[in-house]
């Protein structure tokens, strides 16, 4: 009986977790204003309460794809993480029912900071 109870308990927890979090996909453009280059990007964003995780995919000519994490409070979404091995990204912006828009900072070791902006729209 114990395994069955555990199975039921786990199922209930997963259901609860699934119902508490939501994943949204945003696509759009990131623009590195330091080098004046833009590229398509995709962000799979999961919000669970105030916790946010995201999978960023950036297409050429820019680089930077990987997992980001941060927090979301009443429209303010902040994500950061180290992608492509050593590229530190920090996104901050406002997320509403339509899009996520703001600025970011990209830092590589021994390189000067690069600045950028992004505009990602929620896919319906």
């Amino acid at each position: 009986m114990m395994p069955l109870r555990l199975l039921v308990l786990c199922s209930a927890l997963v259901s609860l977790a699934a119902s508490a979090s939501r994943t949204q996909v945003l696509t759009g453009t990131v623009t590195n204003t330091t080098v004046d280059q833009a590229a398509p990007a995709r962000l799979a964003l999961t919000l669970s309460g105030e916790t946010a995780t995201a999978q960023l995919t950036t297409e050429l000519p820019l680089t930077g794809s990987g997992q980001l994490a941060g927090h979301f409070r009443h429209g303010w979404l902040e994500l950061s993480g180290k992608v492509d091995g050593k590229l530190a990204l920090h996104f901050r912006g406002a997320l509403n029912a339509r899009d996520y828009r703001g600025t970011y900072v990209a830092t590589l070791p021994d390189k000067s900071t690069q600045y950028g902006k992004f505009h990602l729209t929620l896919e319906r």
């Binding site: 204003t33 303010w76 828009r101 703001g102 505009h119």
Partner: protein
């Protein structure tokens, strides 16, 4: 050999024998003759003879018989001016006709590669028979006459043609000629094609003149030609910008009875025509001709579209030639009109239409040519300007005399025509005219043309104006210009030059200049002297100048010989010089190397001295600058060493005394200064330095140091060292912030190439009164210079380090007028890197601002906070320093990770990126990306922010993105979440505002479509409207529809109230039972406002609202207009639907900040027509049947005065009337849930007669028809409603009442307590019932109703009155004076219960 040698024809023999013999002999002889005739030598002889007859010399080397004729090789044909050579040429002549009929019949001429050479010079020089015998010209056809008849059957010629001039081929081309059929009886026709190269264009297939056409020849009766006609086409190649249209021409010469007529016509398309008609009058011996030329504007335009003036001309030439005496008369006349001279040069745009005439006459008498008349006149239309050229005397063009030939006169030429050249420099001449005159004369040697003035050039009262020029007096200018021009030399001499003003200025000069055109040697001498009391210094300054300048110089190659040079300026002629430049001895200078011939010793060549030279007058010539003071002393020398090396040395530093330098009305320097400029020329380098730089301001500030530059000419290398130190006063707006400044600039650099320098050391340090403000230093050399494309670029191997000290942000205020910042910027460090044209600034550590405060558009957005952020910048700078300085840049400033913490908790997050672009004069913000989050709960913990309008809790997230130049939209979005209500008792729903629009940088407006969304329950409040935001004034200007599907006015007011409460001094919270109700008690009086409730909103809305809800009431389909002005808000034409009635109204709010009783005053009126009273009552009391069911009209007038919006609502006074007709009034029976009530209603049979009467009465009250209902009253300032009239007319009852509805804060009107004193009267059945109950007076009133003996009072709620007092009265009537309705009901209930019990008992079985 001559034609006479040809045997005459023989006669036929008479006798047969002899005839046969003769015939045989003749045949034989004929055959022999024929054979002989066809023999090459004979044919060749015949050709030579025929040619000789025509005056042509023919030589050939060989002739051979061919089946088709004779083939001649090596043919040379010569005439005066014409040579032809062919190899081979086939000519077939009919010899029989030559001998038999003396007719030269050329059956065929075929020539290939015929080379024809024309030498025009030989035509004139040829000893033609006519000139040899001094015979007059007998006509063209006489020249082409043959002594015998002739015919040409077929000619096929092709070859080359050349025109030789001066031994050189002028024209070379090819031709073909085909045709024939020419005989004495018949005209011959030939076709030709000709293609010759243009003499003015290089050889090439495209550069040929081509002609194609027909030639028609007709013989006359004397073996001559009687008519020649040539007609064909002409095509010209393009001559640079000139493109002549295809031409058609016609030439004819026709024999006439008295001579010959000649006609020629050339048509250059439809736009130009040349015509010539001539006639040779043989008997009179005269040749006359008239030529007409016409070209219209289209021709000139077509020649080079847009590049030439619009011009048209027509001309005529008449020629008469006396052939006997060779006298000639030619007269020429022509007209020209030209305009649009700007096509030649844009600066000629002011020259109007110019018309010109030309008249000339040329004669020849006794072989001597004489040009007897030339008159040319050009005059401008609508202008007195005129240019005349006239021949002074008849002259022989071939032998011009050394006496005056012609006069040139310029009359009243407007100087304004020169303004287009001056405009680009900001200058213009006021209207003035120029007059001048010259004689043209050849020099005695006939090798130069001289222009001798016949009158001086006079320019009276010319005044030069310019935005950057002072007001100058009119200047009279006169001078006599002499000019000499030859093939070797050009010389100009200005004599008697005088420029005078009415103020006494007078400058005179004499200047000569000449240029040897072969060697380039230039010589010039001159002197300028005079006084300029006002011209330089202006009429207001007593600083007259007396100037003396003279020079004598020669420049040959790079060698400048200065024999004399002197410049002296002084106050008066007898005063010592203020400034003098004097050449001490003749100087020979290599201007390329700046060397002099070697001397044994150091030689002083020239001296520059200052002694009290005033500077104030310079201000007059440099608008915006203010100079004052003098160059009190200074002496410099131009010297050379023994080796001839030149140097400029200052032996006495230039000292500026009492000097003032101002810019834009602000004095930057006032004090004493010295500099000692120097320049030394070495073998391969210069050393330029400015030593002893020292300037001391009156306030004690000074700059001092030195600049030294060493230049190696051979290597094209230079090294520069700069050391400048400044002790400065405070910068503008900075005195209180930084106090005096000290700056030190140290730099050393050298160049690697002419465009590439290396800055070896660089340090710029700026210190304030008590701290270092800025230090920019390079830890390693960096490159700077020009790129291959001329851009100024730099490359830093290692970044420059920029360190800033503690800087108060208040210092920025003058530059950021809309944004007031306070706080202390803590020391910060940055790296500055450059890579080509890109520059990056990166923070080494976060920037920290302590006690940061900010106000934008007069609103506090931060106060006394610690603000940290990273500050970086990217920029691309495009700068071309030469030939024209040009600067442009784009970039962005990034403020990232901006954070404000309060007590360790994050209060504000902020990121900002502003892109920009600009040039040397302006910088434009071009883009914005801004995101921020504010936590009001944390911010409210900052004491300084209390009362600034920030809510006590909640968050605000906002972002703005877009283009600030208006090319693409700007988007703004914000969300307010968790904001407490004004009373602090609940949380208001989230509010989202989004806007999208375009920025209009020219007007500083942002036009946007704005959407508001308030997440009210159960339905979201929305609003959508267009507005333009005046960013300068921080004001929203509207002129649009205000649309909403649902608008919860109560929540909207609650939001406004919450914000206003936040701004006002805190007041104790009050309890509000309903989320949508107004506060329960009047708030503490609000403080007077500096701005109206509608704050920064201006304009008007056309209202279009689906539903406006002010719970529990709601108005549907609201339309109207809202005007928002500085001092009033007007709602007009309001209409809608409310409880099935038509709602309409109007209101205005006036703002008077000076009124202490309340800065806002409301006046309004509202009307509801035919609203359904049952609906409103059931909305509020959904479980109860409406006490009044009627269609009612409501009219209300409202007025109020207060500071805040809810205060206005609370203090509102109103008077109102309500009128209804033909409805139902239901008086609710107390305890109607009791069975007793039902029993009474049912009129239970067992009841007493009183109870049964009561039952009938209750049924009347339960559904009482109403003819008229009228309620009038007023709402008082304290909120109480006084009902001055409550009147109800029904068929059997009439109620007249007065009372009040007491104010209960936070409770809607219909739920407030009612106190109504009612006077009831009845008639008919109801009177009978009530009368039967002894409740009525016996005597009816005048209206027929019997009043009740006593009044009763209704209480309860306004929307649900408590009718118990009435029913108590009724019960009293039933039970006696001790009864109440409750007692009656209990009694009846007991009775009913008993009857029910009895009924429930089992009935015994029968």
């Amino acid at each position: 050999m001559s034609a006479d040698a040809i045997p005459p024809p023989t006669s036929r023999p008479r006798r047969s024998r002899w005839a046969w013999i003769f015939l045989g002999s003749f045949l034989l002889g004929g055959c022999a003759a024929l054979a002989l005739l066809f023999a090459p030598p004979i044919q060749a002889w015949l050709i030579r003879r025929a040619a000789h007859e025509a005056g042509v010399e023919v030589v050939f080397t060989d002739a051979s018989v061919m089946p088709t004729g004779i083939k001649i090789t090596g043919l040379d044909l010569k005439m005066p001016g014409l040579k032809a050579r062919s190899e081979p040429i086939v000519v077939q002549i009919a010899p029989g006709r030559l001998f038999n009929k003396r007719e030269l019949k050329i059956e065929r001429v075929q020539a290939r590669k015929l080379r024809v050479t024309l030498t025009p010079a030989e035509f004139a020089a040829s000893p033609s028979p006519a000139t040899a015998a001094r015979q007059p010209f007998a006509g063209l056809f006489a020249l082409l006459q043959l002594p015998l008849a002739w015919a040409l059957d077929d000619a096929q010629l092709d070859g080359e043609i050349a025109v030789i001039d001066g031994g050189q081929p002028l024209v070379v081309g090819t031709f073909t000629l085909q045709g024939g059929g020419l005989s004495a009886e018949r005209a011959g026709e030939f076709t030709y094609e000709l293609a010759v190269n243009s003499s003015v264009l290089p050889l090439g297939a495209e550069n040929k003149i081509r002609s194609r056409g027909r030639v028609r020849l007709a013989q006359g009766s004397q073996h001559d030609l009687a008519a020649v006609t040539i007609e064909g086409d002409l095509e010209f190649p393009r001559y640079g910008r000139l493109a002549l249209p295809p031409a058609r021409f016609h030439l004819s010469a026709t024999a006439a009875p008295q001579g010959e007529t000649y006609r020629a016509r050339l048509d250059l398309g439809p736009d130009a025509t040349f015509e010539l008609d001539g006639f040779l009058d043989k008997p009179a011996g005269k040749l006359t001709a008239r030529a007409n030329v016409r070209a219209n504007q289209a021709l000139v335009a077509s020649l080079a579209a847009g590049k030439l003036p619009t011009a048209a001309l027509d001309g005529r030439a008449d020629l008469t030639l006396d052939l006997a005496r060779n006298d000639l008369d030619i007269s020429l006349s022509g007209n020209l009109s030209a305009s649009n001279f700007s096509a030649l040069a844009a600066e000629l745009s002011d020259i109007p239409l110019v018309k010109g005439t030309l008249a000339a006459a040329l004669t020849r008498r006794g072989g001597k040519l004489s040009l007897t008349r030339v008159d040319a006149d050009l005059h401008a239309e609508n202008s007195p300007a005129r240019i005349r050229i006239a021949l002074t005397q008849p002259v022989d063009p071939a032998a011009l005399p050394a006496t005056p030939l012609a006069t040139v006169a310029l009359e009243r030429i407007p100087l304004a025509w020169a303004n287009p050249w001056l405009f680009p420099h900001g200058l213009a001449l006021e209207p003035a005219e120029l007059a001048a005159g010259w004689q043209l004369q050849l020099s005695p040697g006939r090798d130069a043309l001289t222009l001798e003035p016949t009158r001086p050039v006079e320019i009276p009262a010319v005044r030069l104006k310019g935005a950057r020029l002072p007001a100058l007096p009119p200047i009279d200018i006169t001078f006599r210009p002499h000019a000499t021009l030859s093939t070797r030399r050009a010389a100009l001499q200005l004599e008697n030059f005088a420029a005078t003003t009415p103020k006494g200025d007078r400058l005179s000069s004499r200047i000569t200049a000449s240029c040897d055109l072969e060697s380039g040697r230039i010589e010039t001498t001159g002197r300028i002297s005079g006084t300029a009391p006002t011209l330089l210094a202006g009429p207001d300054q007593a600083a007259p100048f007396t100037l003396t300048t003279r020079w004598d110089a020669t420049l040959a190659g790079t060698t400048l010989n200065l024999k004399a040079l002197e410049l002296v300026a002084r106050l008066r002629r007898d005063a010592p010089p203020w400034i003098s430049v004097q050449l001490l001895r003749p100087l020979e200078l290599d201007v390329a190397k700046l060397t002099t011939p070697k001397t044994a010793v150091t030689t002083d060549w020239a001296r520059l001295q200052f002694s009290g030279f005033p500077l104030g007058w310079v201000s007059r010539w440099l608008p915006g600058y203010d100079f004052a003071g003098t160059v009190a002393a200074g002496e410099s020398w131009v010297r050379s060493t023994a080796e001839g090396k030149l140097a400029f040395e200052t032996t006495t530093p230039w000292r500026l005394a009492d000097a003032t330098l101002g810019l834009g009305g602000r004095t930057f320097f006032a004090g004493e200064a010295t500099i000692a400029p120097g320049l030394a020329v070495h073998a391969d380098r210069y050393t330029a330095d400015i030593q002893e730089i020292s300037a001391r301001h009156r306030d004690g500030s000074r700059i001092y140091g030195s600049i030294t530059a060493g230049v190696r000419l051979g290597e094209r290398k230079a090294a520069t060292a700069v050391e400048l130190f400044c002790e400065l006063p405070a910068l503008p707006h900075s005195e209180a912030t930084f106090g005096p400044l000290y700056a030190a600039l140290r730099a050393k650099s050298h160049n690697e190439s002419t465009t590439h320098a290396v800055v070896d050391q660089f340090s710029l340090r700026v210190l304030g009164r008590d701290r270092e403000l800025l230090l920019l230093e390079a830890s390693a050399p960096f490159d700077a210079g020009l790129s291959t494309s001329g851009l100024l670029v730099a490359r830093t191997g290692a970044p420059l380090k920029l360190t800033t000290g503690e800087i108060p942000l208040a210092w920025l205020r003058p530059w950021l007028p809309a944004f007031e910042a306070d706080g202390m910027l803590q020391p910060a460090e940055f790296h500055l890197t450059a890579d080509h044209a890109r520059i990056q600034l990166r923070p080494i550590k976060p920037v920290h601002v302590r006690q940061f405060s900010a106000r934008f558009a007069n609103r506090d957005i931060a106060r006394d906070m610690d603000f940290r952020f990273d500050l970086g910048a990217d920029a691309t700078v495009i700068c071309t320093p030469t030939p024209v300085f040009d600067l442009g840049y784009t970039g962005a400033v990034h403020l990232t990770h901006g954070a404000i913490d309060v007590a360790g908790q994050r209060a504000i997050d902020l990121d900002l990126s502003v892109s920009f672009l600009g040039d040397e004069t302006r910088i434009y913000p071009s883009g914005l990306d801004y995101t921020t989050r504010a936590d009001f709960a944390q911010l409210s913990r900052v004491p300084a922010l209390a009362g600034t309008g920030l809510p006590a809790r909640g968050t605000f997230v906002a972002r703005a993105n877009g283009d600030l130049l208006g090319k693409s939209p700007v988007e703004f979005w914000s969300r307010l979440h968790g904001i407490p209500s004004g009373d602090g008792q609940r949380t208001l729903p989230p509010l989202e505002l989004s806007a999208q629009g375009r920025f209009e940088p020219e007007t500083n407006y942002l036009g946007a479509a704005i959407r508001l969304q308030l997440e009210t329950q159960p339905r979201v409040t929305d609003a959508f409207f267009g507005a333009r935001m005046n960013l300068g004034a921080g004001r929203l200007e509207i002129a649009s529809r205000f649309r909403s599907q649902f608008f919860d006015a109560a929540e909207a007011f609650a939001f406004v109230d919450a914000i206003q409460k936040s701004r006002a001094p805190s007041s104790p919270p009050t309890r509000s039972p309903s989320p949508n109700a107004l506060p329960s008690t009047p708030s503490a009086p609000s403080a007077p406002a500096l701005e109206p409730l509608w704050s920064q909103l201006r304009g008007h809305f056309d209202l279009d609202l689906g539903t406006v809800r002010f719970a529990p009431y709601q108005i549907d389909n609201v339309r109207g207009r809202l005007d928002l002005r500085d001092r009033d808000l007007v709602l007009s034409n309001l209409n809608g639907e409310m409880f099935s009635g038509r709602w309409r109204g109007a209101a205005r709010v006036d703002f008077d900040p000076q009124n202490p009783a309340g800065d806002h005053a409301i006046a309004g009126e509202f009307h509801i027509e035919q609203f359904d009273s049952a609906r409103i009552l059931q909305t509020i009391f959904p479980t109860e049947l409406a006490s009044v069911d009627a269609r009612i009209d409501v009219h209300a007038h409202v007025r109020s005065r207060g500071h805040a919006i809810l205060e206005l609502a609370e203090r509102a006074e109103a008077d109102f009337t309500m009128e209804g007709r033909e409805g139902i009034v239901r008086l609710r029976v107390p305890k109607q849930d009791l069975a007793a009530s039902a029993a009474i209603f049912a009129g239970t049979v067992g009841f007493s007669s009183e109870l049964q009467a009561l039952g009938r009465l209750l049924r009347k009250f339960a559904e009482m028809p109403v003819h008229q209902l009228r309620i009038a009253g007023e709402r008082q300032k304290d909120g109480d409603v006084v009902l001055t009239e409550f009147r109800l007319d029904s068929p059997q009852a009439r109620l007249l009442a007065q009372g009040e509805i007491a104010h209960v804060g936070g409770t809607d009107l219909l739920n407030r307590p009612l106190a109504l004193s009612v006077d009831l009267a009845a008639k008919d059945e109801m009177a009978d019932i009530l009368g039967g109950m002894s409740l009525l007076e016996r005597k009816p009133r005048a209206d027929g109703y019997r009043p009740m003996k006593e009044k009763f009072e209704l209480r309860g709620k306004a929307g649900a009155p408590d009718t118990r007092p009435l029913y108590d009265l009724l019960a009293k009537a039933v039970l006696g004076s001790k009864g109440t309705w409750g007692f009656l009901m209990r009694k009846l209930q007991d009775q009913v219960n008993k009857s029910k019990t009895a009924a429930a008992k089992p009935t015994p079985a029968p």
